[in-house]
Subunit: 167 residues, 3 copies
C-alpha cells in the first residue's frame, strides 16, 4: 500500500509542477503591461533573461539583451506614449511546456488615448519563448508581428499550430 | 496513518483533475484565434467534436459539424478577412465544470486592419459548451451574439449568472 | 517512509491551495463582465464583500458597499449603456496572494456599440484587493483609473511593481 501511495504522490507532484509552470507563465506575461505602461524599466528588463531578445517588428531594430529592453522603456518614444496614455494588453498564451523551456502564442494589443478617444493602435501576433532558471520563468525571446495582413504575422500564429502537428 | 494518507491523496487527485480540466479548457479557448487567423482550417475544426455546432449570429447559418467549421475557415469571406489583417481575440471563460462536460462564458472581439488603422469590428458574448472525450476537451457548441444592444447578447451573459443561481 | 510521505502530501496540499486560490480569483474576475453587461445587479454586488468599495474614477463618487454597486448596475446610466450594447472586458490579474488576502493588477476595457460601429470607450488600470471569507474569494476593493495620460493610472500599475520590489 505504501509503495502504491508513493507512486501516486510522485505522479501528483509531477502534474502539480506542470500546472505551477503554466500559471507562473501566465503571471509572467500578465506582468509585462503594468511594467512597461508604468515606465518600470528595470523591472520590465528583468522579465527577460540577460541574453533575451525582443524582436517586435521587422522594420525596427531587435532589442538584444535585457539592458536594451530597459533602454526601450526609458527611451523618448516609449515615454511619450505612456505619458499620453497607453495600455499594452497581452493575452493569455497558448502554451507548450517542455521541462525548463516553453513556447507560448497569443495576441497583444496597444491601446492609446489620442487626446479625444481611445484607439486600437496595433494588434499583434506574439510568439514567446520562455526559460526556467533557478525555478523562475523568464522570457528568452519574444517575437511580435502586426496583424495588418502581412504573411509574417499569420506565420507566427501558424507556427503554434504546426508545433502541435509535429510535436 | 496510511488509511488517512490514502484519503488525503485521493482528495488531492480529485482537486488536481478539476484544475487540470480548467487549465485545459483555457488552453483550448486560447488556441481558437491562432488557428483561424492563420487559416489552419483542419486544426480549427478539430477543436470541435465531430458533431459540434458553431452558432455565431442569428442571421447567418449555424455551422453544423466540424467539417462546416473547416469550410468556414477555408471560405472566401474568412480568407479575405485574414489576408487583410485580423485578430480573433477570445477571453478566458467563466467556467462551470461538471464531470466530462463544462460551460464557459466570455467575450470575444474581432479586430481588423482596415488599411489605415486597426478597428474593433465586433464584440461578442460567447457561450461555449465543452465535452471531454478520451481525456481531451473539445467544443460541443459555441454560441456568439453581438453586443450591439440586442437582448439575445445580454441573455447569453445572463444565462451564466442564472446557471449559478440554480445550480 | 510514511512520515516522509506525510510531509510530501502536506506540501502538495499547500501548493494546491495556492493554485486553487489563483484560479478562483481568475474566475471571480472573469464573472464581473457577464454580471454587469447582463444587468444582473444582485449577482454583481455579491462579487464584493458587504463592506466592499469600488473607486472607479476620482471625479465620480466611490461606490461604498455592495448595495451601492447593485444600485450602480440598476442605475439609469448603466442601463442605458448596456441596452445600447456594451462589453466590460477585464483581463487576468497579475496576482500576489498572502493567505486569505490578495492583490491583483490588470487592465479593463469598456467597448461600446455607438449605433454604427464598436468603439473602445475607455481603457483602465485596475487594482483589485480580494478577501477570502468562508472559503470564497470576493472583492474588498477595486480601484480603476483611466489610462488617458494621468499619473494616477500609471501609479496604479507601478504599485504592482513596487509591491514585488519590497514584498
Amino acid at each position: 500500500v505504501v509503495t502504491e501511495l508513493e507512486d501516486r504522490v510522485a505522479a501528483l507532484e509531477g502534474r502539480l509542477v506542470l500546472m505551477e509552470d503554466q500559471l507562473a507563465i501566465y503571471q509572467l506575461v500578465m506582468s509585462y503591461g503594468p511594467a512597461v505602461d508604468s515606465g518600470s524599466s528595470e523591472f520590465a528588463s528583468r522579465l527577460w533573461i540577460d541574453t533575451g531578445f525582443y524582436d517586435w517588428d521587422p522594420d525596427t531594430e531587435t532589442l538584444d539583451g535585457a539592458e536594451a529592453i530597459a533602454g526601450m522603456v526609458r527611451g523618448a518614444d516609449h515615454q511619450a506614449i505612456i505619458h499620453q496614455g497607453s495600455a499594452h494588453v497581452v493575452g493569455i498564451p497558448w502554451l507548450q511546456i517542455t521541462g525548463d523551456a516553453a513556447v507560448g502564442t497569443c495576441y497583444s494589443g496597444l491601446y492609446r488615448w489620442d487626446g479625444t478617444e481611445f484607439r486600437v493602435w496595433r494588434m499583434t501576433a506574439n510568439r514567446w519563448e520562455f526559460a526556467k532558471e533557478d525555478g523562475r520563468w523568464r522570457v528568452a525571446k519574444r517575437t511580435n508581428r502586426r496583424l495588418d495582413g502581412n504573411e509574417d504575422a499569420r506565420a507566427v500564429l501558424r507556427q503554434a499550430v504546426e508545433d502541435r502537428a509535429t510535436g
